[in-house]
């Protein structure tokens, strides 16, 4: 074969393989997505949506279902009829509501969803932004028994990594708490208790700002155009519409507010500090390992040396020299 021809054929093969196997946008991924939309999945997604609206005290209509599930209104009508027949929902004047049976079903699905998100956050390296999508798959796959095993294996967690409560196996779930970040007044101090993971674009923006559950917020400026606040000592700016997706809880006592904390990465060689807390950005095995080395609140830590290439940095902690990377020391808060 002519070498030029063979090179052209080779590039064609590479190109077509890319089109097929590209993650998310590839043909294979799309095909997987379509075969996923079975009736069971549609029913469960609809129930979840209804529950979500109810929990947030919003009404639910046929249109909102169609919009949420990304199906046309004909299909949505069929789906709602089917749900009514199964005794999972009631419909009155176009307003839809869950029956007790439907609510318990919805909670079961939500339980798996949130457990799986917790599992991904604690036991795997899957990045935050992908948790929701993966849990959307998993929630339709597990039986209640499997869900209980999963819960046990990750220590029967109470909250998912976004701060949403995980329903118990008998369907109990605590009431919603907190207020949106956008409602804080200047000078208010609060702690983040929930970060909404949908829509994805908004969530990505919140992640980029390095906001985490447990972060301490002090409102600096709250206007219609922008919200400026301090999060764990760092100044940040958000559009109000984005800030509405973050739920916070006001501190009850003034003394709960931590002042002047800096990150470990701010210390220079030879300086010392006392650990205040480890941010929730560090989770799972990584967080546990840090604590194994004795990095817990109250621990003294000194900067020993920096790698000649700038990162990592070695610290003296409880008489041992341990090196951590900047993306870790950025999330350890200390006081000089």
């Amino acid at each position: 074969m002519n070498p030029v021809e063979s090179l052209i054929i080779f590039s064609l093969i590479v190109a077509s393989l890319t089109v097929i196997f590209l993650p998310r946008k590839g043909l294979l991924a799309k095909w997987k997505h379509t075969i996923r939309s079975t009736e069971r999945v549609l029913i469960e997604d609809a129930l979840k949506h209804l529950y979500d609206r109810e929990y947030n005290q919003l009404g639910c209509t046929l249109q909102s279902i169609a919009g949420n599930l990304e199906i046309n209104s004909d299909k949505a009508t069929n789906l709602v009829e089917r749900l009514e027949k199964l005794g999972l929902i009631n419909s009155k004047d176009g307003k839809l509501s869950l029956t007790p049976k439907g609510r318990s079903y919805a909670l079961r699905v939500i339980r798996v969803h949130r457990l799986w998100e917790k599992y991904l956050s604690e036991k795997t390296g899957v990045p935050e932004i992908d948790w929701h999508d993966k849990a959307e798959w998993k929630e339709h796959e597990l039986t209640p028994e499997q869900a209980d095993d999963l819960a046990a294996s990750i220590g029967n967690p109470l909250f998912d990594p976004h701060g949403d409560p995980i329903p118990t196996s008998d369907g109990r779930i605590p009431r919603k708490e907190g207020v949106p970040l956008s409602s804080l007044k200047e000078g208010n101090a609060a702690r983040i208790i929930h970060i909404e993971d949908e829509p994805k674009a908004v969530y990505a923006q919140l992640l980029a700002l390095d906001l985490h559950l447990g972060s301490q917020i002090i409102m600096i400026e709250n206007t219609r155009e922008r919200i400026k606040f301090e999060s764990d000592g760092d100044e940040k700016v958000l559009a109000p519409i984005f800030a509405a997706n973050v739920t916070v809880k006001l501190f009850e006592r003034k003394t709960d507010v931590q002042k002047n904390f800096i990150t470990l990465s701010n210390l220079k060689v030879g300086e010392k500090g006392t650990v205040l807390k480890i941010s929730n950005a560090l989770r799972g095995q990584e967080r546990r390992r840090l604590m194994d080395f004795g990095i817990v609140p109250g621990a003294e830590i000194a900067v020993e040396m920096k790698s000649p290439s700038g990162d990592p940095t070695a610290y003296l902690i409880r008489d041992a020299i341990i090196a951590f990377r900047k993306n870790q020391s950025d999330h350890i808060f200390i006081k000089k």
Binding site: G155, R288, D319
Partner: protein
């Protein structure tokens, strides 16, 4: 009680000749000794000093990954020595930690020797305190004492022993210093001549303390012989898969307080 006797390496009883290094040929043994500790504390060196094997040791955390076994004979008792993987903790659920934890808990060794780096005592105490919660037949082997001396670090081992409620034996395993003393205490603890009174941490949080109390009472109702019910209760609260399984399957019932002079048969680890 005299917690730590003076180094009596010249007394006839403690003659190193009493120790017959058996290598790996262990057919029958009277007691099982588990060896655990932080990575890079000279655990493998202690293992080699006791058994006469030449396992590879290195100045590098995390050399021993699989469980190594060896044996020795002392005072006419045959001992099986199990070298567990080095871990910083027993609570962080990595595979190594599970192996070590499950052996100490379910394997019920007659003695657990925790090798501790004398130059990094504070960090090492984390593991010691965790092991003290699980079993009550413990010896702390305060290793690398030569390195500590060289660097001007001195440790009051009597005070440490009093604090922990278990024998603390200073050693420099590379030079074989303190090994006879360690052997003597292994023998005393294994045969029940020495009774440890391990320190158990009091939980600061009153809610947690209450929960542990209630739960451990319930656990004791079903498994009355459990030596460490508080710890099991705490593990249940934290959601520890292995412990939950052990409660479910009833395997926890096999664990019991070790009697004064009682030999253990071979324990097969799952």
């Amino acid at each position: 009680m005299n917690l730590v006797k003076s180094n009596c390496e010249n007394c006839p009883v403690h003659n190193i000749d009493n120790l017959v290094k058996l290598g790996i040929n262990m057919e029958h043994f009277d007691y099982v000794v588990a060896l655990c500790g932080n990575p890079n504390t000279g655990k493998s060196t202690v293992f080699n000093a006791l058994t006469g094997l030449r396992q590879h040791t290195g100045n590098w955390p995390g050399k021993t990954v699989v469980r190594a076994e060896g044996g020795f004979e002392y005072n006419e008792h045959k001992y099986k020595l199990v070298d567990l993987p080095g871990t910083y903790s027993l609570l962080s659920t990595s595979t190594d930690e599970e192996v070590a934890r499950n052996f100490i808990l379910f394997g019920q060794p007659d003695v657990t020797v925790i090798v501790v780096d004398a130059t990094r005592l504070e960090r090492n105490l984390n593991l010691v305190l965790q092991v003290l919660e699980i079993t009550d037949r413990i010896i702390v082997c305060l290793n690398l004492i030569d390195e500590a001396k060289r660097n001007g670090i001195e440790i009051d081992e009597r005070a440490l022993s009093k604090e922990l409620g278990v024998p603390v034996i200073p050693t420099a395993a590379r030079q074989k210093e303190g090994i006879p003393n360690l052997l003597e205490y292994i023998d005393e603890v294994a045969t029940g001549k020495y009774r440890c009174k391990p320190k158990r941490i009091k939980n600061k949080n009153p809610k947690l303390r209450k929960a542990v109390e209630v739960l451990s009472n319930e656990v004791l109702k079903i498994y009355p012989n459990l030596p460490n019910a508080d710890w099991v209760a705490l593990r249940l609260l934290e959601g520890d898969e292995d412990i939950i399984d052990a409660v479910k399957s009833g395997e926890l019932g096999k664990l019991k307080k070790l009697g004064a002079v009682e030999s253990t048969q071979e324990i097969i680890l799952k």
